[in-house]
Symmetry: C2
Subunit: 588 residues, 2 copies
């Protein structure tokens, strides 16, 4: 037996007991005649004490030599501390050490094992096993477990059945790139790792399982952006005999439950907003509605004056920045520079100061009267003391730019509060999305999404106008879930594939099993999937998902700790019947 | 809204209510003036009724045309049945149908959707989504979910944290074959899919997580035997600061809990048996101890007579088959043929009938006296009325053969009762195992398993004799879990790799990250992994795992439903920098 108690549980009531503890040396203070050691394990920190009065000189000497992170086992008596530490639950007691055994030595860690560490990202990833000893990471992983358990128990209570779907499936060129797995037993053939269990969960509905969920790894071989991982986790759900509203109800319930359990915050009924409205009011299909600064379109009041920039613009749009009238020229210039950065791409920014005396001062005073500016202020709800920012240009880019500016200002003004939760359903997404490079339409959600009732005919005439039974759940400006009511009719699915540019043969080869299944009595069904990594991060009040993943990969898709991917044996390749074509292959 | 109730919940108390139900037509009986339909969903079956008195002729005509498995939605009134059906929970009521909507048509299924189906294995797999509609499969999947939830909640209550470890890791040639995943971003390099999260869970222990578990998919590219899947699920667990006994206690707790919750059966403390004892008493490291027929070694009493076969044997071993004295000559011959089959490989079998009158009749009467045979009977505990079976030969094969015979006889005598649960810990496994083909020792469990205290030195002198801190949990003759106390010291781990034939460089390249981690304060740790597929099958009283996996692969590793693996685009291979060497590659 290595321990009678863990390092987080001893209290004054344990005083007088002989205990055995095991853990890591967090730190020690050596006063010569007295040594204090903080012994750490997952559960907490317990103070050990050795002094010349109660401990042998030999023992003191032995402990003095032990460095941080050494793993030790101690026996001793629990005593009440004279100087209590209110900051930790074990702060009322300490252990007078009687025996010590070193269980394992520790080299000096490459960074400090403290809440605020001196280790950079890459170093922490290389020694992730040490990084996990740090409270923020350890707590993030435990929090993830807690959230997963809550999700599982909630859904299970609601008759959802967790079903494990296969990981070795078939590659389909549609959508993002698949990771493939060469088959040794069927040389020249490949499995693919699932981008999601989409078709399998639909088949489970055809199979009559009625309510399915799974917390499941998914894989996408994409060029990685920050905070994207080649493998990520989804809470994947599907229901039969449901309308969109049924699904929204159930998962609104789940999300409210999580927020309530974790933060004690009661969220009312989640607002719902169409995609079109979200784009119009926030320039974004995942608006953060914790704060205002809604878009006001100024075309009618700002055009047909002498200001050519606005006159030639497809859209003139403004937001009112609360209390920002005080911004100095320098601050405003910085904002203008910010929107002109290539990542944002605006050509410039017009501003109007709404002075406390009711007057307006703008960068376009020579083109607009006070009445004009007052109309702008009214349109965007600006109060005295606010700053109005105006962007113009083509509709799409201008909305995107203004959305970026709105988020940036919210950050600057600290309006994105981590302890505030503003969920929102965005509904009625477009069914199709035009790929501007190729001029081809593809499915905005995925090819199994059903169009709104009666809109199938529009597919030929005006594909961009077709709306889908598709919805996203947005939390604090992040898409945390998305789903749709699926097609459950073979002919409709075939038509959809045709419109997405599949030949009949391609559709049959890739998704024949699903369309065939639809012929044997497929129920109406739909579902949703949540990104667990992000959901947990947001519920944990963080923007970055990195600490909520035990062993994340870097932006090049590498695991720098185990050094993967790596070369494999020639024999292994031969067994798989594969050759590497490009020999200059060590670009890692 | 597609339904007000599901098909399993209506009772007499609902009579008079107007309800809406959706589901599949299980079957219909048409009496001309009256039609009964069994409407099925996941939750049960509800009887619908239409008759010429209460329903329109049009409605009757409409329903008459609908085939089995058609998906319909009906509205109607709940009424009490005159002829009640005690076999189903909704058997007291039926629905007088007022409206019907066909939600989806169904072609005639390729096999009957009944508990006993006429569909063969391959057909059922191809149409697995229909197979899942059948009660046995649907219930097996729901049972699996239930068991998984119980495991998660139990372990979570015990402070275990479920941590998701990565699926894209590094290939290591040790052990079974890895599935590999070519990296596009790092051409010529490969990820591997984990055979288990072994090294990651050990790193989590180094990271101080103390108690880890995960229900996780694992992958092995092996030539498949019946009931083996290339992807399978493990309940993977690891604990820090534990001895072997601590681990056995915790997982005995889990297993007892499952058996108790599922079957209401209280298992006492699980017996423990060393590997050596299990081999001696049962010829098997996973003995089914629900029944006796223990091995008795007869060398001392059977050798040094005139029977050359026994005299030249390394081992003469007997079991007493209860009540089998009645076996006819034909039955005994069949047994002898059975042990002589190439899959078993015995050269023959000697038998002794223990007659009810106390006399013995054997196939070797001319070599042995009644006293000799009485000694045999005593050795194997044979009673009057039993049949003694004796095999002989070299130790290893003879034990294996006798074990096979013992299991076969237990099947024949119906001694392997599905509702009886006999767990057993088998402990003190050998550390190493000689590969007889190559003459090389490899790790019996895996290279991270620690040898018994003080046995490191034996590694040089007598490797086969070294025992490990390794244990299996056996349930009803199946290994349901196995684990070990790990090595947590870098030098010990290095020595172990050396003994397993790794060069220092190979060990460093493949497992350097783990050995490095051990230098930064690794705690003593150990763990266990359960095979979930098998555990669930056994707890469900089945021998085959197939029905407990939603979408299993066949013995050639193929998913016959989606037809995977399959060829991929040339463009995809080019992106990966790969060539297929063997073009004659369509052996599927």
């Amino acid at each position: 037996m290595y321990r009678s108690h863990n390092c987080g549980e001893l209290r004054v009531s344990n005083c007088g007991q002989k205990v055995k503890l095991s853990g890591w040396i967090q730190k020690s203070r050596d006063k010569g005649f007295m040594i204090w050691i903080d012994l750490r394990d997952r559960y907490g920190i317990t103070q050990l004490i050795l002094d010349s009065e109660r401990s042998s000189a030999e023992l003191i000497e032995k402990l003095r030599e032990l460095g941080r992170e050494t793993v030790i086992q101690v026996e001793g008596e629990v005593v009440e501390r004279s100087a209590k530490n209110q900051n930790i639950p074990t702060g009322d007691i300490e252990i007078v050490v009687e025996t010590v055994e070193v269980l394992n030595q520790a080299k000096l860690p490459p960074f400090t094992i403290e809440d605020q560490t001196d280790g950079g990202e890459e170093l922490r990833m290389k020694y992730r096993y040490l990084d996990i000893r740090r409270n923020p990471v350890k707590k993030a992983l435990m929090f993830r477990h807690q959230v997963s358990m809550m999700v599982r128990n909630y859904l299970s209570e609601q008759d959802f059945v967790e079903v494990e779907t296969p990981y070795l499936i078939k590659s389909t060129p549609e959508g993002a790139r698949d990771f493939v797995v060469p088959s040794r037993m069927n040389q020249g053939q490949f499995y693919a790792l699932p981008q999601s269990p989409q078709t399998f969960k639909q088949l489970l509905m055809v199979g009559g399982l009625d309510r399915y969920f799974q917390i499941v790894k998914c894989f996408r071989d994409e060029d990685l952006r920050a905070d994207r991982q080649p493998e990520f986790t989804q809470i994947d759900c599907e229901m039969s005999f449901v309308t969109q509203d049924d699904i929204l109800q159930v998962f609104e319930g789940l999300t409210s439950y999580l927020i309530k359990e974790i933060h004690g915050v009661t969220t009312g009924a989640f607002p719902r907003m169409t995609y079109d409205e979200a784009m119009k009011r926030y320039g974004n299909d995942k608006p953060d509605i914790r704060f205002g600064m809604e878009f006001a379109e100024l075309n009618s009041s700002a055009q047909h004056r002498d200001f050519g920039v606005f006159n030639s613009a497809e859209l003139v749009v403004a937001i009112a920045v609360p209390g920002a009238v005080e911004y100095t020229r320098k601050q405003i210039d910085a904002l203008i520079d910010w929107v002109k950065r290539p990542q944002v791409g605006a050509k410039g920014m017009v501003y109007v100061k709404c002075n406390e005396d009711g007057s307006y001062k703008s960068s376009v005073d020579k083109f607009y009267t006070q009445e004009d500016l007052a109309a702008w202020a009214e349109a965007c709800g600006a109060q005295q003391g606010d700053l109005i920012c105006v962007l113009s240009g083509d509709q799409k880019s201008t909305r995107t730019q203004m959305s970026a500016l709105r988020m940036e200002l919210a950050e600057q003004l600290n309006l994105r509060k981590a302890d505030e939760f503003a969920p929102l359903w965005v509904v009625d997404f477009p069914l199709l999305e035009l790929d501007e490079e190729t001029g081809v339409y593809h499915a905005m959600h995925h090819p199994f999404t059903s169009p709104k009732e009666g809109q199938m005919e529009l597919l030929d005439k005006d594909p961009a106008s077709v709306r889908a039974n598709a919805y996203d759940l947005v939390l604090n400006g992040n898409e945390i879930g998305g789903g749709s009511i699926r097609i459950h009719d073979k002919e409709v699915q075939k038509t959809m594939f045709k419109h997405l540019g599949f030949t009949e043969q391609e559709a049959q080869e890739q998704f024949g099993f699903l369309m065939n299944a639809f012929e044997y009595g497929a129920p109406p069904h739909g579902g949703i999937a949540f990104g667990l990594d992000r959901l947990v991060a947001i519920l944990g009040g963080q923007e970055s998902i990195r600490d909520f993943i035990a062993f994340p990969k870097n932006n090049a898709g590498r695991d720098v700790m185990i050094d993967a991917p790596a070369a494999v044996d020639a024999a292994q390749l031969e067994e798989l019947g594969l050759n590497i074509t490009n020999i200059s292959a060590d670009e890692s």
